[in-house]
Structure formats: structure tokens, C-alpha cells
């Protein structure tokens, strides 16, 4: 007998899987949590039990200093939750360890994407298109103005700037989990083999990526380097450090930022960015649309981001959709 999806309930602080009494990416402490990926707004600490991929659990351990209640699940693996719910973790292509969660109950299939993108990323396996009835998708860049360019062109811009101004360094602001490592890995792919200098806040996460088999080349800490050694080099820092006192130790830095928001000129200007790099770990508008078309669900539920525009697109294309008002997901401009 069909359950009409009454077993899955969006609440303001997370998606509730009722028969299992599990919450997906809950914004507050719960007894049982299913976590899609390691970004702090999705992976909060303090749950009784946390089901996530081994890499996500390692990231959470790094951040919260505990493995208590950790339940690892590999990509493609299905675990049985109480109340007859099966959960399968599938690659989401967002950051190391990121997963979509496929939930099956009473013959009904629901996917919660967490955050995802459809581009190649040397630090994580690609998003896997999987059929389902209800597709709960993020919409961070859910506006038709967002068509992110290929990353190769952005890397070329960065390397050209290093070559043009060899007496300066390029200071790239990038989110500490995922974006920073992806940018370094892409730099290596583009043939840049000089040391990359790190702000202290990025060190542990970069080491974790290396432990998970991602080669980031030679990394050095800004705090251990002399000013002159950093001329003509890439320096990576969290976005909050770009205009901070910390940057005074760098040799005449070109302020740069790797973010999908850099598409909008005024956004880049407001942050004092001289070299915007349009690099996103989220799906852009064409990717969001392509994904809905390929997954082809009966219904799409749209969460954090600019829901209205994607909702409008669904309406224009006779696709059933609704917006969920979930709280607590960071719409931070740094992402």
C-alpha cells in the first residue's frame, strides 16, 4: 500500500525520516542523524549517532574531536534503518566524502542531494544520477544568471596573473573544506609545481585530504615562510582572512577569491577582490535544470538557496515542485 510519502517530513531544522526517527543534516542535536557532507552547516556535532561516509566522519572528527556514535557507510552501500527504511549513500560530487542519500520505504524512493555539482572535481567522485520519486535538491545558485565557466579558464587567469606580476603573490580566499583543496589540485593539474603557501586554518584539512589519497603537491605554511619566498606564489587562506591583519605579512598580495558568487561584479567588488575566480562546488543553473531533467522525479522539493527561480522554472516546464523552508543552512558568500 502506498504511503504517499507521509514518512518523510520537512521540518524547519531538517528533514525528518519518521519511521526511523532519523534526521538528515539537522540544525540541532538529535539522537539519530544522517549527514550528507562535512560542511559545518550540514554536519553539526553532538548527535547521538551519525551516519555518514568514512571521509565525512573523518572530517567531523577533525572538527569536533570525537568519533562517538559514528556509523560509516560506503558509497553504494545500503543500510537498514529502523521502521523499514533503507538508506543508500551515493556520490554527490560536492567535496571529499559528500553524498546524496537515497531513502526507500514502502516502495517509494526519495533522494536528498545535500550540496552537489556536476563538474569534474579531482578530489571526489562525480554525482551519480539515480531515479527517484521525490528529489530534494539544493538551489544555492538557483538563478539563471549563474552559468559558471569551465575551471580551466579560471586557472589560466590565476597562472597568468602570477606570470604578469612575479613580485607579488596571489592570495586566494577559498572555503577551508573542499574549495581550497580543489583549487590546489586543479593548479597541479594545470602544471603549477611550485610550493603553495597556506594560512594556518587550512593546514589540517589539506593534510586530511592527503591522507585520503589526494595529491596536493608541496604545501608550506605562511607562518614558516619569509616574505620574499612567497613572491610569485599562490597563497591560500579562508575568505575571512583576505582583508585581515594576517595578510600584511604577504608580499603585496593580489586579493583573489574562488567562489561561484564571483560571477556578479558588484559582489566581487564589495569584497575588495582584484582577481575573481568563478569556481563553485555547487551546481549552477544549467546543472540544476539538467539534473532535474535527468533524474526526472515525480516531484522536486527545493531547499536552501534561491528557491523561487527554480520553482518558477519547474512551473514553466510543468514539473511538480515545492520550496522547503529549512533553517540554518549557511548561505554564506564564501561558499
Amino acid at each position: 500500500m502506498p504511503a504517499n510519502f507521509s514518512w518523510i517530513r520537512p521540518e524547519p531544522w531538517g528533514i525528518h525520516v519518521v519511521p526511523a526517527d532519523c534526521w538528515i543534516d539537522p540544525a540541532r542535536e538529535v539522537p539519530h542523524a544522517l549527514v550528507t557532507h562535512g560542511h559545518a552547516d550540514h554536519a553539526r556535532g553532538g548527535h547521538g549517532q551519525t551516519v555518514a561516509t568514512p571521509a565525512t566522519l573523518a572530517i567531523m572528527e577533525l572538527r569536533y574531536n570525537t568519533r562517538e556514535g559514528a556509523v560509516p557507510v560506503e558509497y553504494g552501500e545500503t543500510i537498514r534503518l529502523p521502521g523499514g527504511v533503507d538508506a543508500t549513500y551515493l556520490p554527490a560530487g560536492h567535496v571529499l566524502g559528500s553524498a546524496q542519500i537515497l531513502l526507500e520505504h514502502a516502495g517509494e524512493r526519495v533522494i536528498v542531494t545535500g550540496d552537489y555539482k556536476r563538474r569534474h572535481d579531482p578530489t571526489c567522485p562525480p554525482f551519480q544520477v539515480t531515479p527517484c520519486d521525490i528529489f530534494i535538491t539544493e538551489a544555492t545558485f538557483g538563478l539563471p544568471v549563474f552559468t559558471h565557466p569551465p575551471i580551466e579558464g579560471e586557472m589560466a587567469k590565476l597562472l597568468q596573473r602570477l606570470a604578469d606580476q612575479p613580485d607579488r603573490c596571489v592570495l586566494v580566499g577559498a572555503y577551508a573544506l573542499g574549495k581550497a583543496q580543489r583549487v590546489i589540485a586543479e593548479l597541479r593539474r594545470a602544471g603549477h609545481d611550485r610550493p603553495v603557501f597556506l594560512h594556518g586554518a587550512l593546514e589540517r584539512m589539506c593534510r586530511l585530504y592527503e591522507d585520503w589519497g589526494i595529491d596536493l603537491g608541496e604545501l608550506r605554511l605562511v607562518s614558516d615562510a619569509k616574505k620574499d619566498e612567497m613572491r610569485g606564489a599562490v597563497v591560500m587562506a579562508p575568505p575571512s582572512a583576505l582583508n585581515d591583519r594576517w595578510s600584511r605579512r604577504l608580499p603585496d598580495p593580489v586579493t583573489s577569491m574562488a567562489s561561484g558568487w564571483m560571477m556578479v561584479r558588484q559582489r566581487a567588488r564589495q569584497r575588495g577582490v582584484e582577481l575573481p575566480l568563478i569556481i563553485s562546488d555547487h551546481a549552477d543553473w544549467p546543472e540544476l535544470i539538467r539534473t532535474i531533467q535527468e533524474v526526472n522525479p515525480q516531484e522536486s522539493w527545493i531547499t536552501h538557496g534561491r528557491e523561487e527561480a527554480l520553482l518558477r522554472w519547474c512551473e514553466l516546464h510543468q514539473r511538480k515542485a515545492r520550496a522547503l523552508a529549512l533553517v540554518g543552512y549557511d548561505e554564506d558568500e564564501d561558499d
Binding site: 538563478l143 539563471p144 544568471v145 549563474f146 552559468t147 582583508n243 585581515d244 591583519r245 595578510s247 600584511r248 586579493t255 560571477m263 556578479v264 561584479r265 558588484q266 566581487a268 567588488r269 575588495g272 577582490v273 582584484e274 582577481l275 575573481p276 534561491r306 523561487e308 527561480a309 518558477r312 522554472w313 514553466l316
Partner: protein, 534 residues
């Protein structure tokens, strides 16, 4: 167009003035005529395409993008041209028919040909030939607001740097040659003869003064005049036309139409534009304060009411040309005589002359300067009697000796991060004064904001103070615990509805940092109100 689009993009992300100058100069050097001339016109907002409006762009997009998606996008991006450049549907590249982006000149030519009837089709065809950055540059150029932080003056300075000519000469010839300024490039880049400027009501670069500082001059060699607190203007009449220019060479004829009508003699005059007002204590027909003049600045259309209530007049300082003769090489004494002889030929309600101060010697002048009560007086000018009228600031010819500033003690309330070189420093300070007795629970109300007047060393210490005394954060702004006193200098203070204190300072700057002074000894709002002379 790709090169121009790349220039626009670089300018958007560059904050340093020198870096901007270099970008524009490089572009002007390497780009051929007439593209570089049209680009220069675009940067100086010298282009006008009446058929292309912001609404044209919106309508064009409404035909191609769902209106709801357009509105959501426009609201997020905050700029019509940028939104349109990003949303424009990129057609598939047809085999054997690759996209052929237009040159800047071709784009200008096509934009100029467009009419209200054709713009829908023609502008769309043009946009189809460009990528997103190209579309952005084109739409910004077409609607006439580049907003890349390049003033007309900066563009002219870049031109002068590119070809190693003086910016004063560029200013002088600028208005004589229409875009794309081919003759101007020919002169600057190829050494051709400069254009003939005699028969046109052109802007001539102003002669400027150095601050007097500690210097004393001999009044046998120098004459003293009042320095008025209005806006410095130049009135030029030639070929039956009159134009009014601001200090930067901007044509402001439309803002003060009564002045354009008042000069009908072929002449170029230098003076201070003021408005009449009853607020002033001083002599009859005195000028209103700068605050009154401000009401008329920046307006394109002037109402009859304004013309009647705040009529403009020019207090003349100098004459550059008269009846077809260029007087700039003549000594000041001769030009002054010519100016005095000219005055009776001009309408008395629109012109008077800045009086020479009768001072016997320098100390006498100092006494007169100290004693003046007229708020429309900003200070004293000292002009060498035998000096020609030369463009710009030349040492030893003209000096300005401003009145001593007003000083009050204020308390630091908020600090904001600076930009460019100061991006990591809290360098913009909002300060306030007490609205009563601070020992009886009075509050601080903000009275002004300043970001200059301190050394780099002091800035470092102020930055540290702000970081250690923060009580709240609002984005780039920090609220401090109100524990530091600034001695703030300013030129005058006016009633203003914009601030909660009801006051606004003119040219506030940090005079001294009073690390030693307890905050309850800072000044009260009432003390500031007593300085208002509106």
C-alpha cells in the same frame, strides 16, 4: 570590443588610482584609431545613444526570458546591464558562420544608427555577436554609465600619461574636438599641430594655488584677495554661445542657466560661483553659506522657484580672454585692470568682483584675516603681481591661506575598514558628541566621519585600539566602547536632517588623537550648534 571589454573588467576590479591610470594608458597606446577614441568617449561619458535606454534592455530581455526569472535575477544582481549580459541566450555557433564580435567603432556606429523602431532588432543582433563580458561592456557603453571608478579627469590624465603630454593641454583641447578625438590623438601621439580653439567656448585649465603653510610673503610683490566659499567656475563665451565649467572642466551650464544668459561678451572669466542669501551677516548682497549653494548643485533641471530663491552670481577673480585676445601671458596687474574695466559692461546682479584686501603689510593682513566674521570667506588668496595665468599649480605664483579650522573634541563611536592599501585597517571613523551632561546619563550622537589627518604610525595604533575595544560588529563596521577622544578639525558646520544630531560638518578631519583625554570631557552638541552660521 574584446579588448575594450577586458579593459572595463580590469577597471572594475582595480581600486588603486595608479593602476587604473596604467590600464587606461596602456589601452590607449596599443589600440588603433578610431577605436581608442570611442573608448575614451565611453569612459568620459561623452557618448549618447538616445534609442538605447535601460527600459529598452528590459523589454528586449522580456521577449527572451520569463519575466519572473528576469525580475528575480535583476533583483539579485542589482544592475540591469549586467543581468542582461548574463541572461542573454547564447545562440548555438553555426558551422561556417563563427561569431564575429564588432570593433568598438562598429558598435558605436551601429548604436548611433538605431531608432526606437529598429533598436529591438538591431541591438539584439549586436548582442548575439558578443560573449557575456562583451555584452556587459556594450550595454554599459550604450546606456552611458560605465561605473568603473574612472572620472573624466582620470581618463584625461591617463591620456596625458600615455603620450607624455601635459594634462592641462589635454584639458584645453578636449572640448574643441568631438569624439573619437582623432585630431587629439594625432597631436599627442604623432606630433601634429594642436587644434585651433579660438572660436569655441572652451574650457581653459584653471590656475591653482599652493597652501601658504609657514611662509610669509611681501605684499609689495603679492596682492591679497578673499577666497570665497562657493565653487570655482569658468565662464566662456565664444561664437555666440556661453558655457559654464566647474573646476574639473565639467560643463555645468544647465545647472545655472541664469549665468549662461548673463555673459554675452566674447570672454573667458574665472570666478567663484555663489548664491545670494539673507543668512549672511556681512555686507549687503552677501553670499549665502556653502550649504545654500549645495541645494542647487548636481541638478540637471532648475525650477523657477529655485532661480528666484537662490539666484546665482559670480564673484570674478580673473580674465583669461577678452574680445578675442588671450590675456594669459600678461601680468596679473594688467589682467586685473582689464577685469575692472570690463565689470561695468556686465549685468550687476550677476557679477561682482572679488575685492583686493587693503593691507599694509603681512602682519596687518594676518590681523584682517583673523578678524573676518563672514562665513562665505574661506580664507585669503595671495597672488604674485607680475604672474601670468598658467594652468595648474606653479610654485611661487599663487598661495591660498585658509582660515584656521574650527576644532571640537569628539568621541570615537564606530570604525570601518578602509579600501585599497588600507583594506586591512580600520581607518574610517565615526565620532560623536554628548547630548547633555555625560555625568548625568547623556548619550553620544554621531556628528561626523573622517578618514584622514593621521600618520601611518597613528593609523596602526588606531587600528589596534579599534580591535581591542570592539563591542559589536556590523559587517565591515565595528562599534567601539567609546573610550577615545579625537580633536576634530572642520571648516564649517551646518544644520542637516541626515544625521540624528541634526548637524553636518564640512571637511572634517582628525586634528589630534587625544589618547590622554577622558571621554566625559569631550564637547557637547550644544557647543557645536553654537558654531552653526546657516
Amino acid at each position: 570590443m574584446e579588448e575594450f571589454a577586458a579593459l572595463i573588467d580590469s577597471l572594475v576590479y582595480t581600486t588603486s588610482r595608479n593602476a587604473k591610470l596604467q590600464l587606461v594608458a596602456d589601452y590607449l597606446r596599443r589600440t588603433p584609431d578610431p577605436d581608442r577614441g570611442w573608448a575614451l568617449a565611453a569612459l568620459t561619458e561623452g557618448l549618447d545613444f538616445p534609442a538605447v535606454k535601460s527600459s529598452t534592455i528590459r523589454n528586449l530581455l522580456h521577449d527572451r526570458v520569463d519575466p519572473v526569472l528576469w525580475t528575480l535575477s535583476r533583483d539579485f544582481v542589482g544592475d540591469t546591464a549586467e543581468t542582461a549580459s548574463l541572461l542573454w541566450p547564447q545562440g548555438p555557433a553555426l558551422p561556417g558562420n563563427p561569431p564575429s564580435p564588432p570593433t568598438v567603432s562598429e558598435a558605436v556606429e551601429l548604436l548611433a544608427e538605431m531608432t526606437r523602431a529598429t533598436v529591438g532588432v538591431k541591438l539584439a543582433q549586436l548582442l548575439d555577436r558578443l560573449d557575456a563580458d562583451g555584452r556587459y561592456a556594450l550595454l554599459k557603453m550604450a546606456t552611458g554609465a560605465m561605473r568603473v571608478g574612472v572620472s573624466a579627469r582620470l581618463a584625461k590624465t591617463a591620456f596625458a600619461q600615455a603620450f607624455e603630454v601635459s594634462v592641462e593641454e589635454v584639458e584645453e583641447y578636449w572640448h574643441a574636438i568631438p569624439a573619437p578625438y582623432t585630431a587629439l590623438f594625432d597631436w599627442a601621439a604623432n606630433g601634429a599641430a594642436p587644434p585651433d580653439t579660438a572660436a569655441l567656448p572652451l574650457f581653459r585649465p584653471f590656475m591653482l594655488a599652493h597652501p601658504l603653510e609657514e611662509l610669509e610673503v611681501d605684499l609689495l610683490d603679492y596682492v591679497a584677495e578673499w577666497k570665497w566659499d562657493g565653487i570655482r567656475v569658468q565662464l566662456a563665451h565664444a561664437g555666440g554661445e556661453t558655457r559654464l565649467y566647474s573646476r574639473g572642466g565639467e560643463d555645468i551650464t544647465g545647472t545655472f542657466p541664469e549665468m549662461a544668459e548673463a555673459l554675452t561678451i566674447p570672454a573667458v572669466l574665472d570666478g567663484e560661483l555663489l548664491v545670494r542669501g539673507a543668512h549672511q551677516g556681512g555686507e549687503e548682497g552677501g553670499a549665502a553659506s556653502f550649504n545654500a549653494l549645495q541645494q542647487r548643485l548636481g541638478r540637471k533641471a532648475v525650477s523657477a522657484k529655485m532661480l528666484a530663491e537662490a539666484p546665482a552670481f559670480v564673484r570674478l577673480y580673473d580674465v583669461l580672454q577678452l574680445d578675442g585676445e588671450d590675456l594669459r601671458e600678461r601680468p596679473w596687474t594688467e589682467r586685473r585692470a582689464a577685469l575692472e574695466a570690463l565689470l561695468p559692461r556686465l549685468p550687476a546682479d550677476r557679477f561682482d568682483i572679488s575685492a583686493v584686501i587693503a593691507a599694509d603689510h603681512f602682519a596687518h593682513l594676518a590681523t584682517i584675516r583673523e578678524g573676518t566674521r563672514d562665513d562665505a570667506i574661506e580664507g585669503v588668496m595671495l597672488k604674485k603681481r607680475d604672474s601670468p595665468y598658467v594652468a595648474g599649480r606653479r610654485t611661487g605664483l599663487w598661495y591660498k591661506w585658509k582660515r584656521d579650522p574650527l576644532l571640537v573634541d569628539c568621541v570615537l563611536m564606530y570604525a570601518q575598514r578602509g579600501s585599497g592599501r588600507r583594506a586591512s585597517f580600520y581607518s574610517d571613523y565615526t565620532f560623536g558628541c554628548w547630548d547633555g551632561d555625560p555625568d548625568e546619563g547623556a548619550e553620544l550622537l554621531p556628528v561626523g566621519k573622517a578618514y584622514s589627518g593621521f600618520t601611518d604610525e597613528e593609523l596602526k595604533r588606531l587600528d589596534r585600539h579599534v580591535r581591542q575595544h570592539t563591542v559589536k560588529r556590523f559587517g565591515p563596521v565595528r562599534e567601539t566602547d567609546r573610550s577615545l577622544v579625537f580633536e576634530v578639525a572642520f571648516d564649517s558646520i551646518h544644520v542637516s536632517k541626515r544625521h540624528k544630531s541634526g548637524l553636518a560638518m564640512r571637511f572634517p578631519r582628525i586634528h589630534r588623537i587625544r589618547w590622554d583625554k577622558p571621554v566625559h570631557e569631550a564637547d557637547r552638541i550644544a557647543a557645536l550648534q553654537a558654531l552653526v552660521r546657516d
